[in-house]
Amino acid sequence: MIRVSGVSKSIHKNRILKNVHFSVRSGTITGVVGRNGAGKTTLLRIIAGILYPSSGEITVNDQNVFKQPDVKQNVVFVPDSTDALRTYSIKEIVKFYEEIYDTFDQEYFYQLLEKFKFTKQGKIKYFSKGQKALFSLILAFSTNAKYVLLDEPTDGLDVIIKKQILQFIAEAVSERDVSVVISSHRLDELEKMADHIVVLKQGKVDSELEMEELKSQYHKIQVAFEGKLPQHIRDRSEVLSETGRVSVLLISSKDEETKKMIEDAEPILYEELPLSLEDIFVAKLGGDLYVS
């Protein structure tokens, strides 16, 4: 388990992280979400042992990453840029990773290269931006590390490669005994795969949410009435949008009373809609977090 305990970090006299606590369980996907500048990348860089925390501690399987850096055999950090790999050829990087990670699986690595139609030779710098991003993920998962930290893995990529990458992460997690921590400001991407969400707001953990639990806590419904949305219903629910007489509401699953009120008001349209993570954030955080 990765445990982040009371981590704070100041850079250039600015407090980037303030007393951050959370943990990452085995076999889960944890999404770290927050606006640009919320401290997501700094947090991942501290977990990876790149930055020293100003205070607090990071442990992986109860070992401190700074005092026992060997424990990072189980932690691979994939930054948002692949610059560090650009001078290597595929053969060189395989040899290099084999030397670093005792559990590097060369067979799996080449299988994945074949699956994604990569050449098995040549320099990484000649790959396109999307290919480089996918390649660094392949490399990271081939290490068989227990924890993979991904910093904005789909940032700046086109839709097709983005889909490929997200699918690859989801498959790798389901097939292998690995936990993934993904930092992103794209809620729509995370909701499809994350089990656990850590919301960072101004350097603090604003909330920690379990996806399954969360989705069962709310209902999203689209309603329309003869007149305007009755005030007593408006007061008891979260209005996500209003277009003419059609309103989209978010209500708690347990709130039978509000559901009864809606039925009693005899809506001309009543439809249950699929719930998205964004809806929940709007409800819980008043839309403060969302960055498109």
Partner: protein, 326 residues
């Protein structure tokens, strides 16, 4: 302590500069020995008497690093830049720090890599140079050289310079500032005292700075690259060890969030913010005064000196502010 993966990485990124250092040493010893033998032969044939007088100096100069020694130090600055500074300019620094190695392992590998490249290249070239002369008709001249000193004193000089460069590398935030600071600080102590002495001379003071032999000879690391001076090998060895320990300490403690900036340690900013303008001002005053006639009056000299001093201080203060904001 020295993981193979780290050796592979250092080799990949520094092999070209390492080879460059080897070439410089080869030029300085076997190749220059081969070329000098021709000149010596000609001199001996054409000006026998003169050659008799010059033979001692010629053979000692051959084993003294001299000009090639300075070039080698230049390449060593680049080598240390490639080992430490270049990483900080790129995402390679993050990549390195995220690997399952301690900072001590990372530093020790970098340090050992450069030290081995430097000492092996030097030793091999020196030996080949020795053999070239030993195989020639000038073999007897080797008796005029203290070969042990000729080998070990420059080696100790390179060791202290290399360790010092590693210390600067650990402090600097990126390769450009590392190279700049390396060049400045190799001459800083003596240079600063010269500037101070000029300042005192212009103002009618007599600080006797040039009499500080310990600073101008023992602590001037380039003096160990001349085997014809009387040098104490203990000093460069001792300072080399001190610089190595400091470099390790600074590398260990350096906050990665400042990589890419001018300095890794913000605690040093006040020192640089004051030090750079003062040194520049002293240099500015010296440069400006050198353009007025030697026999000008003392009052004029002082006035011109202070104009140069203040102008240089103003501009260097502006530049320093920008540098430290980097």
């Amino acid at each position: 302590m020295f993981p193979k993966a780290l050796w592979m990485k250092e080799w990949k990124h520094s092999k070209v500069v390492s080879f460059g250092l080897f070439v410089v040493f080869m030029l300085g010893y076997p190749i220059s020995a081969g070329l000098n033998i021709d000149s010596w032969r000609m001199m001996k044939e054409q000006r026998g008497g003169f050659w008799e007088e010059q033979a001692y100096y010629a053979i000692n100069e051959q084993f003294s690093p001299g000009f090639y020694g300075y070039i080698a130090v230049g390449v060593m600055i680049l080598l240390v830049g490639f080992l430490i500074g270049l990483e900080k300019n790129t995402k390679r620094h993050d990549f390195m720090m995220a690997l399952p190695f301690s900072r001590t392992q990372i530093f020790a590998t970098k340090y050992a890599f450069g030290l081995i490249v430097m000492s092996l290249s030097y030793s091999l070239s020196f030996t080949l140079g020795y053999l070239v002369i030993y195989q020639s008709e000038f073999r007897d001249l080797i008796d005029l050289v203290n070969i042990t000193d000729a080998f070990f004193i420059p080696l100790a000089g390179y060791f202290v310079i290399y360790s010092f460069l590693m210390l600067i590398g650990a402090i600097a935030g990126e390769i450009k500032s590392q190279i700049l600071l390396s060049i400045i600080f190799l001459f800083f102590l003596q240079g600063f005292l010269v500037l101070l002495s000029m300042f005192s001379e212009i103002h009618g003071l007599n600080l006797q700075i040039f009499e500080l032999d310990f600073i101008f000879e023992d602590l001037f690391w380039f003096s160990y690259l001349n085997i014809m001076t009387d040098s104490n090998i203990v000093i460069p060895l001792l300072f080399g060890i001190i610089f190595t320990a400091l470099a390790w300490f600074c590398y260990q403690r350096s906050p990665s969030e400042h990589s890419g900036e001018f300095l890794m340690f913000r605690q040093l900013h006040p020192l640089f913010a004051v030090g750079i303008p003062i040194c520049s001002a002293l240099l500015g005053g010296l440069i400006v005064i050198s353009v007025i006639p030697y026999n000008s009056g003392e009052g004029l000299k002082i006035m011109v000196y202070w104009i140069g001093f203040l102008v240089a201080m103003f501009f260097s203060w502006k530049v320093t502010k920008r540098l430290l904001r980097m």
